[in-house]
Symmetry: C2
Subunit: 440 residues, 2 copies
């Protein structure tokens, strides 16, 4: 009998949009009316084990069809590969996905093409974790330092961290790993909530939701700012009063300010004692963030959800421009590049507080934060995961947040799988959620 | 009789690919086998004047269909607008095109979506110049300083240059404008050639082509490096010998090196006295380029063809990381953002030597360099436009280079129009150029 290797047989893609703009959930100074969406992909094999890999790029409505086209453009790189060879060398697989010379022109490693890489790479990680019967975070945490280092593409970041440094750092965190895993499983990981603070909510709703969040166990609440500084001052006052003096208040300007404007506005809001100011200006502006960080003293400058690759994260850290590191699971090129950023953050001593919300980001980043705690930074101090309480019902393995803490996921995979009926119902533009709305 | 305003009625798009990989034209250390391509767009109106706007994103093969989808995603922002209102406020039009909140998630202002913006914005500039009966460069050069400043989105660059500074700078260049225009029309603009130096060419072809270039009047020749340093040393020696001691040799590593590697390799190649080292490392790495620039002394660090927006150019200049500024007409968000970069370069005293080659870039950037000379920098000293001698025959108004100099274009428009028969013949995958190849 000959052993026949299983192969990746195909991708199935979906353009899935949730009509969140009707309730103004997710509204901020840059995004008044997002329709939270995903360009979704299922990776199938002929292994006969019934396992699929699920992944997606999170988007906010228009243009999701472009994102789907980008994922489909990657199919020729993937279909036909031997499954075991791919899963056995995920670092090599990542480099294969980003090194198509013709596709690199469309980035390189940024924007739509890089988010497509993330969708496909994360789908393959989901498949690998399902095959291993482990949640992704434990699959990663159980890997040796050498195996983790082999996941990372050090091209362009070797001047900040070398493979040898990364391996030594990971080896130094081996002690206490079992204890941290026990703590994680027993206590969970601290969450903060952005749900009360959307810019489209009125003052009374804001106040009520902050009080509800405190009652539900949240110690940290984030508020959107940046449309009008007078409104920001008033709303920060309401939130701080409702939160009490010991609660942590974060503010998020969603890129609305120029550098000088950011400095002036953050100074005006300083009396409400924000822990961090998030996305004060363009996510491309490393030097601008460094100038803001120098000017606003104890208030940390947070960014990352729009920071497009490890080369940018490297510079934010080298320049002292990022006090809080907020990687996005779907904008970086999947798990491999997130590991690179976690290593950079550990080396530079920057706390990682992943961006979440949207569609499925909460489901994913709890894996990343858990892995970071157990195996990379070794700490939860000064670290929280964003939490937004919508759209979880569409996921097969939804996140669970109780008492202001994320429970560690236990189901095999990367928790990226959306229920089939949700995919079909919200398919754009012909799914029932959209066709009925058009009629109404 | 009522005046009926004309409107933009629609976009027509094309996926057009030239099978350049068969001759290895365009081969470099990152791109062994590009098929030079365009995602092409025609903007039509109901003005009844027979005028269309033509624009495109230059691509290198696979993924051009994604770029076409991105251009089509912009159509709803454009179709139905009043033509005169758009052409009368090109600055407002640019902001309108980049400020769709849902589409910004896919960038913002980078990668596939930003290149789509470039295609559409440049098509509208082509239309505006055709209506004015002027080549684009003269249309721009004839605008007042205030009108030019109004084209630019100063968001995120106000810490480096303010509108008032920009206007004063442009006003200071009014003197001598007519004289510079005469010089330009009489003498042209210096070109350099990359045609001899593709990495896929053997040593004898390299030597012969460098000699041919010198004989044709070129004083500056660029060589691709970065695959193997031993090969680079040998090839630079051949090129320097063929060029003679007074010719200018430039080298281009197409992002192949890490920072430390770049420094070591450039030092090894320094004895061939290169004028500049182009793209030594990741185009996102501002701080890395700054470190290289500090380490390699008199050799200028050149980059820009993959630098995705004005925020990145700003930082390269603030950090002293860009000795030569090489904007790409199709990667920046069209003419408006190129004007922003020309203003930044003039303020920081960085010579602009636009990236060209590809498809149609030579046709376009001669307008940008001419405008820069006449109205912005006021100088051609230490400035050259890239020239590659292929694919010009497909253009209605092809560039003309004689005696190593670009002639100033005189036909109305932005020279972006590809001949209809070329569009159809090279349409991918069903045009004759591809269907016949598949059969052969």
């Amino acid at each position: 009998m000959t052993v026949v290797a299983s192969r990746i047989t195909g991708l199935e893609t979906f353009d899935v949009r949730f009509p969140t703009s009707f309730s103004r959930d997710g509204s901020d100074a840059m995004n008044p009316d997002p329709d939270y969406s995903v360009a979704y992909v299922i990776v199938r094999t002929d292994a006969g084990d019934g396992l699929e890999g699920h992944g997606f790029a999170f988007t906010i409505g228009r243009g999701t069809e472009v994102q789907v086209a980008a994922i489909e453009a990657l199919a020729p790189l993937l279909v036909g590969l031997e499954v075991e060879a791919v899963l056995g060398d995920m670092g090599g697989f990542w480099r294969h996905m980003v090194n198509d010379s013709q596709l690199r022109w469309l980035g390189p490693e940024k924007g739509v093409m890089h988010m497509a890489t993330a969708a496909v790479v994360n789908a393959v990680w989901d498949l690998k974790a399902k095959r291993a019967g482990q949640p992704l975070w434990r699959l990663l945490a159980d890997m040796t330092p050498a195996a983790l280092v082999a996941l990372v593409d050090f091209r362009y970041i070797g001047d900040a961290i070398t493979p040898a440094e990364a391996e030594a750092l990971l080896a130094s965190r081996r002690a206490g790993r079992e204890r941290r895993e026990e703590i994680l499983l027993a206590e969970g990981y601290p969450a903060y909530t952005t749900s009360p603070g959307w810019l489209g909510y009125d003052d009374r709703k804001l106040e009520r939701l902050v009080r509800d969040a405190v009652a539900a166990g949240f110690e940290s609440v984030k508020l959107k700012v940046g449309a009008s500084i007078e409104d920001d001052v008033r709303r920060c006052g309401i939130a701080r009063a409702a939160l009490g003096p010991s609660g942590r208040l974060m503010i998020d300007a969603n890129q609305r300010w120029d550098v000088d404007e950011a400095i002036a506005n953050v100074r005006r809001l300083a009396r409400f004692e924000p822990w961090w100011i998030e996305e004060p200006t363009s996510p491309d502006d490393v030097l601008g963030h460094a100038a803001i960080a120098r000017a606003v003293g104890d208030i940390a400058v947070a960014t990352g959800e729009h920071v497009h690759n490890r080369v940018m994260f490297k510079q934010f850290m080298q320049a002292g421009a990022m006090g809080i590191c907020q990687p996005d699971a779907c904008r970086l090129g999947g798990v491999n590049e997130v590991v690179a950023v976690l290593l950079l953050a550990a080396k530079f001593g920057v706390p990682v507080c992943p961006h979440a919300g949207g569609v499925g980001l909460c489901e994913m980043v709890r894996h990343l934060a858990a892995f970071d705690f157990v195996a990379v930074s070794g700490s939860r101090d000064g670290r929280v995961i964003e939490y937004v309480d919508h759209l979880h019902e569409h996921f097969v393995d939804p996140c669970i947040v109780t008492g202001g803490r994320y429970r560690a996921p236990t189901a095999p995979g990367y928790s990226t799988q959306i229920r089939r009926e949700s995919l079909l119902r919200h398919a754009f533009p012909h799914g029932e959620a959209w066709s009925r709305r058009a009629v109404a």
